[in-house]
Symmetry: C2
Subunit: 143 residues, 2 copies
């Protein structure tokens, strides 16, 4: 018992909140996002969606991602090279380490780095609106 609760965002409520209709394509896409453990790109979300309802179009995936991003329900990451990748905006802020060999994305968080960023911005006379910290690396050869 006592599993760690993986929080699932209530997208439908968020959409209703935003005064936006809950359609079949949206329901499908939201479902996919809710239980995506990874950081899929639009094409991958489209593939997963088609597997559920083959009438969904790629345009709708893109439109829905933009909509969700707009209401802050998901984050868009433009990692080096590839297309945008998405993830539910649930849980605490974190940054990413991308395995340049496999494309795997590993999440991490450093309060210390976040503080230092604030400090730097303040010294430069700026307030941070958002930031992007991405580490690109490869697995260390087993010692």
């Amino acid at each position: 018992m006592n599993q760690t609760v993986i929080p699932k965002p209530d997208y439908e409520a968020a959409l209703r909140e935003a005064g936006v209709r809950i359609t079949r394509p949206r329901r499908v896409i939201l479902g996919i996002l809710s239980d995506a453990g990874d950081h899929p790109d639009a094409m991958e979300i489209f593939r997963r969606a088609v597997a559920i309802d083959n009438s969904i179009s790629l345009s709708t995936v893109y439109r829905t991602m933009k909509l969700l991003e707009g209401i802050g329900a998901i984050h868009r990451h433009a990692f080096e090279g590839g297309p945008s990748r998405f993830e539910p905006a649930v849980g605490d802020h974190h940054d990413h380490l991308i395995d340049i060999e496999t494309g795997d994305v590993i999440e991490f968080q450093s309060d210390r780095i976040e503080e230092l960023q604030q400090e730097i911005a303040r010294e430069l006379g700026y307030e941070i609106v958002h930031h992007r910290l991405e580490l690109y690396g490869r697995k260390r050869r087993r010692r």
Copy 2:
């Protein structure tokens, strides 16, 4: 006297080193890069190049940027939204703060952050090949 020396990279030597021909378009583009104090994108470099030699093409700008990037003579930055922006790979490593109102790019450097990144990657079993730290912010309202 005793000005801070703004180092100008010897691109021509680097090119010769790479066994590549030094052509008129390349000379023009290299000149522009050498004394660019900013982080121009390909189109901007193209504009500056055309002002010097109107026969230069945008393709050549792109090809030259790729070439220079390949030999490590310049860095390419894919800041949020816009096209790639470039800068000579001279001087020490630094990261960027982008003014989301003006697009201005401010450089900064934090040994502490760099160390913490190493530490994080090591803990995750990775070695960093490169990284990207971008702060997006706006000028703090004058106090």
